[in-house]
């Protein structure tokens, strides 16, 4: 109970911190959306458009920053993230609704798969130490040191460009209409394979390594020896005793490093021109589209928090010591 209370407090605090950072940081960015819209058009938008744009974006009125902060919080409570500038007058929430599913689908699922697969491989590598499993280590170390984006670019060159088997960009084939039919689903899956593999390769290694280390640490606990002494089957000892315990720190590690992972994986979207929030964030930062930047940053943070909450609940389930005292 105390554990939960502390976690809840932590979530509230983090969410607040994110919201606040979220509000103030973009406002410190010099320049404004109009200037940057003009700048990005590099001449294709006439300079005389400036005035009308200021009026359009509602940037012609002045308000104190504190007042704006208050308004912002109020808006958030109403679930209103404001209007995007780049896609004016589309509400940020609509932009997010378009892009978030892609990110959740790609980054979310692959992160979880990466964790599960990495953990599984780590279990094997830790358990079968001194055998072929040790070969995994140097490879894993090397892979985990390669930046996501570079791996992605190489993957595009080798597997996508020049008649390769994979598309190099986008979330689905142009011309396919998003709906739940085979065409679209296949197209979406097809487009997500390469980025997903990239994420898997570079993020899985971390889990392999940490799970292996935890397995080694746990393997020398007394209860493992006892389990062997009890004559339990190899699999039971490995899974029910060693892996089950080694998993605990890994799960809480997973929760807390989600922020790091997600930050890195967003880059994959940029490289693969994947229509997710990472790509949008990058565009929005360039466009000084504060409402969008804020919205995306907030949503990423909140998603990470929710994932965290989820991981916490899993942890709570896995570790009886954190449950209510009996």
């Amino acid at each position: 109970m105390g554990y939960l209370l502390r976690r809840v407090g932590f979530y509230v605090f983090t969410a607040w911190a994110a919201i606040t950072i979220n509000f103030f940081l973009p406002r410190l960015i010099p320049g404004d959306p109009v200037q940057s819209l003009i700048a990005r058009s590099q001449g294709r938008l006439d300079t005389s458009a400036i005035e009308s744009l200021y009026i359009l974006f509602g940037l012609d009125t002045d308000k104190g920053i504190v007042e704006q902060y208050g308004d912002y919080l109020g808006q958030l409570f109403r679930g209103d993230l404001g209007l995007s500038f780049t896609f004016f007058p589309t509400p940020v929430s609509e932009v997010l609704a378009d892009s978030l599913p892609w990110t959740l689908g790609l980054v979310g699922i692959t992160t979880v798969i990466s964790f599960l697969l990495g953990t599984f491989m780590g279990v094997l590598a830790g358990w079968w130490r001194g055998s072929w499993a040790d070969m995994l280590m140097p490879v894993t170390t090397f892979l985990s040191s390669i930046p996501y984006f570079w791996l992605g670019l190489i993957a595009i060159t080798l597997l996508a460009d020049r008649g390769g088997a994979f598309p190099s960009s986008g979330g689905y084939d142009p011309g396919v209409v998003p709906s739940w039919d085979m065409d679209f689903v296949w197209s979406a899956v097809h487009h997500s394979l390469l980025p997903a593999i990239t994420i898997l390769i570079s993020s899985m290694s971390g889990w392999v390594l940490s799970m292996r280390n935890m397995m080694l640490t746990v393997s020398s606990e007394d209860y493992i020896t006892v389990a062997h002494a009890k004559g339990l089957s190899e699999r039971r000892v490995m899974v029910g005793y060693a892996a089950r315990n080694a998993l605990l720190p890994n799960v809480s590690g997973f929760a807390l490093s989600l922020g790091l992972i997600v930050g890195g994986t967003l880059l994959v979207e940029i490289v693969f021109s994947y229509p997710g929030v990472g790509f949008q964030l990058f565009q929005a930062v360039g466009a000084k589209d504060y409402p969008l930047v804020q919205g995306i940053f907030l949503i990423i943070t909140l998603s990470v928090l929710v994932a965290n909450l989820f991981a916490d609940l899993v942890y709570l389930l896995l570790d009886p010591r954190t449950r209510k005292e009996g």
Partner: protein, 318 residues
């Protein structure tokens, strides 16, 4: 992204005498150290060694590796080998500075919140968790773009100031376990002042953990910095490897078949990362001897639960 491995490891009593030799005896650590040293050397000498001015335009546009240009040239005829050499300084500088900043912050926050108790401690710990949860790269991106002026140093500072949290967390956990140690209490009972206890009794015992967290942050900082440069965030030195990749990407080098523009920076980053990661494993294994990988000596595989029986080898007789 190399995650710090084991979460909280008991700090085994360090064996001072054997310490140095043992860390070096670790093959991983040695390889890691050699790679790291090599890149440090490059950082110092690279710009001097560069055969060309990295920004100078040449006549040979976008040619592959030749005797004149070992790593080929860019679309402007700039020598990529020189750019790589020149860029190593910025990469290493930012990585190390960010590592130092993050480590110092991590030690300050982690050790303080671990040693002190009460609200302040909880607050600091919550703060580091917040920093952990907020996605790092977008945060760094937003902050760097918010700054009016950026150069290598400011970027290093930004990365350093945002990536201390993991180190702080690990250090806090370690400090918490050390704080209850009798020798800390004993030092208190002897009349040592608080700062001396932290500085002379606790910190030295955290050296390995601090070193590991430092190296972890350097890896993270290098990757972040290169990523920023690759995205085109200004301020990172001209020929930072990420900037080279940025140019390669904006000139669609891969589509043009100019692999030489892409491959060297990527390999260099991966190599540096691998070196640092190996060094970190060395430290991890040194801190936690259970992690030593080799349990297979002379054909005998040691397993938990089934002790091997050797017949005829070294008998117990004197």
């Amino acid at each position: 992204m190399a995650l710090p491995t084991a979460d909280v490891m008991p700090v085994t009593a360090p064996v001072k005498r054997r310490r140095r030799s043992r860390l070096l005896a670790n093959r991983k650590a040695t390889i890691g150290l050699v790679i790291f040293g090599f890149f440090c050397l490059l950082a110092v000498l690279g710009p001097v060694l560069a055969p060309y001015d990295p920004g100078e335009r040449g006549d040979q546009l976008l040619v592959g590796p030749t005797a004149d240009h070992w790593f080929g040239t860019t679309h402007l005829g700039q020598d990529l080998f020189s750019q790589m050499l020149d860029g190593s300084r910025s990469v290493m500088l930012v990585g190390l500075v960010a590592g130092v900043v993050a480590t110092v912050l991590g030690v300050l926050v982690g050790v303080t919140s671990g040693y002190l108790s009460g609200l302040g401690s909880e607050g600091l710990s919550a703060l580091s968790n917040v920093f952990l949860v907020i996605p790092a790269l977008p945060l760094i991106l937003i902050i760097t773009l918010s700054l009016p002026e950026t150069d290598d140093m400011t970027i290093a500072l930004v990365i350093g100031c945002t990536s201390w949290a993991w180190g702080a967390r690990v250090l806090r956990a370690q400090t918490l376990s050390l704080r209850r140690r009798d020798y800390v209490e004993a030092a208190r009972a002897t009349g040592e002042s608080t700062w001396r206890i932290i500085g002379f009794e606790i910190l030295p015992n955290l050296t390995a953990v601090i070193a590991a967290s430092f190296i972890g942050t350097v890896i993270f900082a290098v990757l972040s910095e290169i990523t920023l440069a690759f995205i085109g965030v200004p301020g990172v030195s001209e020929w930072n490897w990420g900037a080279i990749l940025f140019w390669a990407q904006s000139q669609q080098a891969l589509a043009q078949g100019a692999w030489w523009w892409f491959v060297p920076p990527g390999i260099a980053i991966a190599l540096l990362g691998t070196g640092l990661a190996l060094l970190n494993f060395g430290i991890d294994e040194y801190v936690n001897p259970r992690l030593r990988s080799s349990t297979k000596v002379r054909g005998v595989r040691m397993r938990v639960g089934f002790t091997p029986v050797l017949r005829g080898s070294g008998h117990g007789h004197d």
